[in-house]
Amino acid sequence: MTGNAELVVARPTGPKTPAKGLIARLLLRRGTIVVFCVLFAVACITLLPFYWMFSSSLRTMENMFSLPIQWIPDPVNWMSYVIAWQAQDFTRYFFNSGVVAIAITLGNLLLCSLAGYSLTKFHYRGRGLMFVLILSTMMLPLEVTMVPLFLIIKQLDWANTYQGLIVPFLVDGFGVFLMRQYMLSIPKDLIDSARIDGASELRIFWMIVLPLCKPALVALAVFTFREAWDMYIWPLIIITKDSLRTLPLGISLFMSSYGTSWDQLMAIAVLGTLPMILLFFFLQRAFIQGIAATGLKE
């Protein structure tokens, strides 16, 4: 859209008269207004479910599905937050989700960047094939690998353990792809220079390559954390102990055959969204830089 706006300005040719300049400015302004209107509409559509979640958490159960829709809750029911928090051991579930998401994120940051480093800066037989194989794992959804994965975890006796929740997701094809693409932009001379300066390969990775990959690492951290924080199916399969439930499993407890406590469910969902929003808020600049630099988005 911005491109169109620029085109409009560039179009007038020949000697510039004040009138033409004014028209160009008006056209530019009109273009900008259109751009903002469209962006505003898209932003509203994106934010609507979040607002719906928040407003539902504040509505009473009687007003939950009343028609016409009650966009602004009346009366405002803050109690659903207190009741929901006390209904289950949510402190524990938040803690479990935090441990799992942080561990998976750190694992991905380390392992994906190591793999990306190897795939970009070292020459060895089968390197290209290896990359293709890693990429091809991105085509397989969890539903396909779920059963064999479950059998492996069961054999390892890792059901109902943190490692059962964490280890299968410590590295991910997409993460390797993202880090590899970013590392392609790091000049090889920097690494050679560090070699001559006397750095070992691991030190080069740690002191030169990783700091330079900060934008990509941030992007990967946000992606991975979100996925791990949201993970539902896998914990549902391997966790039966209450003390190991993650937040999504805890939220699902509000749904039973006797009905769903929508107000409480939405209240916990709001609280569950906050860490993600905060994470993105603090890292957004580096995150966008990381996405732009890897060529994933223009």
Binding site: P187, D189, D192, S193, I196, G198
Partner: protein, 362 residues
Amino acid sequence: MASIEIRAVNKAFGPTQVLHDVDLEVANGEFLVLVGPSGCGKSTLLRMIAGLEEVSGGEISIGGRVVNDLPPKNRDIAMVFQNYALYPHMTVRENMAFSLKLRREPKPQIARQVEDAAEVLNLMPFLDRYPRQLSGGQRQRVAMGRAIVRNPQVFLFDEPLSNLDAKLRVQMRVEIRSLHQRLHATSVYVTHDQIEAMTMADRIVVLHEGRIEQVGSPLDLYDHPANLFVAGFIGSPSMNFVRGVLRARDDTHWVEAGDGTALPVGGSPQGRDGQEVVYSFRPEHLELGATGGGVPAKIQVIEPTGADTHVFCEFCGTQICAVFGERLSVRPGETIFLQPKVAGVHLFDAANGKVLTNGIGN
């Protein structure tokens, strides 16, 4: 400081052979320049000395120690890269201190060494800046500073000035040279710019397609090129070449150009009567003759550089360049008469490009 010996070194990337049996010695404290067109293998040779490329065959020693299998960090070398290769996330001070830190030298000593080097290179005001906050010339100086703090046995330069603008390049050339005079460090310098080679080198090595064409002092290469390639590569504007046939009658020799013009040759050149040769002379080895004296040349383009005048003209059916110290009042399209100075004429065998006669000093 140390000498470098390169013996029968070969390098192949897969089936492509990029260096063929290279033999070379760099004396202790010498400033050696490797020059050649792109793809001639000069950077590969430098990277092999540094240990960044494996040696496919032959032996490289530094200071009498064979280093073929030593990693770069154990070779006691420093290298300055074309794109500076400064660590972008470190300040100038951290960049320069990096190698010393890795060697676990005491902090006060690191600080002193970094500041000493910064003093020499006028980098004191920039020590706490990041590379992105510096100009090209300053970055280049930091790259050199990073090399000199380590006090290595050998300095390696990989086209360090090619990213700088022309004026800065001249300035840095002088700085590198004066730094070498101060440190007397054995240095190997790679460039594709023959002016850089001529002005900086103690000795020049001309490489072409992975082979050494000639090794010698700058003026030696300029005055006594061993073959057509070196003759054409060294010197700017480059040497003029006119194809012809060597003629000998009694004790007189001359070259008959393609259009039948007789071109003078001094002394008794090697080669036989009727041999196809390339008659060569540098642009400054031409004299303006009076009308009717010398070979007529039709002027195509005139380039006044201020200091002298470059005249491009057609001479015996070939485009040549003539350089005159004085300013000429001639125009394109006019005909002037040019006479090659016999002392500056070189003859090369047209078949294999090898020299038959080098005019100067003959």
